[in-house]
């Protein structure tokens, strides 16, 4: 009896000891691994080191160079095209023949008219003979009648003469198309052997007036760069074959309003996208090497005088009027380091399409900015760094 009591007691102690060990083991396990366990459930974030510096505004755009002025030369008489003397893209001088038209029908008409004139001349001679005869006969009434007929015939002849002159002139002018000014053949619509389609046969640019380039840019940027009419602008012509891109100079000819564009907002921005006012810049280019049709780009840079932290726009969040970013705060936790998302308000900021500059006092050197997170964050949330 006594023995079994001792056994029971020993067994009880064993159990208690096991429970004690279990407790200590459990606590030890969680001490070592709670941080790991917990961090598996935390929102995962992608971060970037904040860069110090000033914001650089960039006005970028490109457009196709178009002649400032171009003329469409129609087929003057609607005749068939006999020869096309130029090619598209060819530079032509003022007065140079461009297209020769088939003028056979006109020439035939002229010959007809000439024959008609001949006929009139013969009729006139005939009347003059009759006139002489009637004078010698002394028939007064017949004389005056013939006199009137001769007058009428003379009028007919001069009309016919003028008609022939007109035809001849037309034939001379319209049998060929001539360049009205120094220029480049932009478009060649005339096809040999066919009559005109009703449109112009040749589109020719005016070299004397130069080229223009239309570029659309944000109004705010244009104002920030202080761009105004007659302001010169640096441009860049594209590389051609072996040649490197070459700078050009343009002058602003006109600044016109154009439709606004909608701003791209970060995903969680909410609200309706803000409309960004835009303007059209019409630049005048005066460069001999331009032919029209080139893709010319504009790249202006302006460094903001203020310095601060540069943050990619995707890191900036909006909540109503308020703007803020999240930075990573590292806490020396009880069991390993803990990372927290810390909200940093940014009321005053300058921004471009890609970056936002926030004041220098908002961050310290080397602090990480949260770009995106697997779950919506709040101030003080624990996070897991990617």
């Amino acid at each position: 009896m006594e023995l079994s009591k001792e056994q029971v007691e020993r067994k009880r102690k064993k159990w208690i000891f096991a429970a004690l060990l279990l407790l200590v083991g459990l606590l030890l396990f969680f001490t070592l691994f709670s941080n790991t366990l917990q961090s598996a459930t935390l929102p995962k974030v992608r971060t970037e080191l904040a860069a110090s510096g000033g914001i650089t505004y960039k006005l970028e755009g490109s457009g196709v160079v178009q002649p400032f002025n171009q003329a469409e030369l129609p087929n003057p008489a609607g005749w068939r095209v006999q020869h096309v003397l130029v090619k598209e893209g060819e530079t032509v001088k003022k007065g140079q023949k461009l297209v020769v038209y088939d003028s056979t029908s006109a020439r035939r008409e002229l010959e007809d008219e000439l024959a008609q004139l001949e006929k009139l001349n013969i009729a006139l001679e005939d009347m003059q003979d009759q006139f002489k005869l009637s004078i010698s006969e002394g028939d007064e009434s017949a004389t005056s009648e013939i006199k009137r007929e001769i007058k009428t015939c003379n009028i007919d002849i001069s009309v016919q003469q003028r008609k022939i002159d007109g035809l001849r002139d037309q034939l001379n002018r319209q049998k060929e198309l001539v360049a009205p000014f120094d220029g480049i053949v932009m478009e060649l619509l005339a096809i040999e052997g066919l009559a005109s389609t009703g449109q112009s046969d040749i589109v020719i640019s005016n070299l004397e007036l130069g080229y223009r380039l239309d570029i659309v840019a944000d109004r705010e940027l244009i104002e920030r760069f202080g761009l105004a009419v007659r302001h010169p602008i640096e441009l860049l012509a594209p590389a051609e074959g072996e040649q490197p891109p070459r700078p050009l100079e343009g002058v602003i000819d006109e600044i016109a309003d154009t439709g606004p564009r909608s701003a791209s907002l970060p995903e969680d921005g909410g609200g309706s996208p803000a409309a960004i006012q835009q303007k059209l810049l019409r630049l005048l280019l005066d460069d001999d090497a331009l032919k029209g049709g080139e893709q010319i780009s504009v790249k202006l840079e302006l460094a903001s005088p203020r310095k601060g932290w540069l943050i990619p726009n995707e890191a900036v969040h909006r909540e109503g009027e308020e703007q803020f970013i999240f930075k990573v705060e590292q806490l020396r936790g009880a069991l390993g380091n803990v990372f927290l998302a810390r909200k940093v308000p940014i009321e005053e900021s300058e921004s471009t399409d890609r970056e936002t500059m926030i004041p220098e006092d908002r961050l310290y050197e080397g602090e990480m900015i949260i770009l995106e997170s697997s779950e919506p964050l709040q101030d003080g949330n624990r996070i897991r760094l990617q």
Partner: protein, 291 residues
Amino acid sequence: MRVMTTIQKGLLTAFMVMIGLVLLFPIMITFTNSLMAGQELRINYGVIGKLTDVTSTGAETFINLKWLPDKVTLEQYGELLVHSPYYLLLFWNSVGLVVPIIIGQTVVAALAAYAFAKLKFRGRDSLFLVYLLTMLMPFQVTLVPNYIMADKLGLLHTSGAVILPGVFAAFGVFMLRQFMLHIPYAYIEAAKIDGAGHLRTFLTVILPMVKPGLAALVILLFVDNWNMVEQPLIFIDNPMKQPLSVFLSRLSGEWDTVFAASMLYMSPMVLLFLYAETYFIEGVQLSGIKG
């Protein structure tokens, strides 16, 4: 011995059951509440915050102590173990303070008690009286000297400032001396005759005999030091180094963890007591000290 009547026996049993229930009540309610979700506790005990609100009428200042959870959940434990690394750190802080104190004081006390109980030297009793006086003085009296001493030793704000005074506390010496006084001197004389020196006598004769006393001492020291609040609060300023007891006293209102934290906090104590219960009772009885 007078024979008890059945009625007397019944009455006594009822009385003891009642006392037992009263003593167990806090532990039981802590345990059941530790199985509730934080939300449930907040609804139940949220009124505690209003107790200090002087504008409220008396009606809402009563707290409904809830016995059984609506839904049994280990949420609190999960929250505590996974999401409150601080708690675990402080638990090990407590262990780091208590274990050296227990080991140190047991060693020191056993040796000193042997000397006070079984060695004869001049001024032994008066020295013991002085020793005893330090024990009789409340902790607060020696607080300032202890603080100055810790500062001078460069131990301030380290766990050493708590451990060192703990190791040399007089309680263990007193308790083990009382225990050893009951050991007949004949044992020592027998050992001496057999050629044992003091160390051998102490290790092989005395120590095995005071085992229950040592167990009782260990438990008492554990309870005492596991629950200490003032010393670490004063000597250790870094909250990361303070023991769990200090932290627990600040937990009120954190319904998500507070009961589970209390449960885990007292479980080592309870288990240790259950483990060494028989020794403890024996030891306390023999030394004549009440725990």
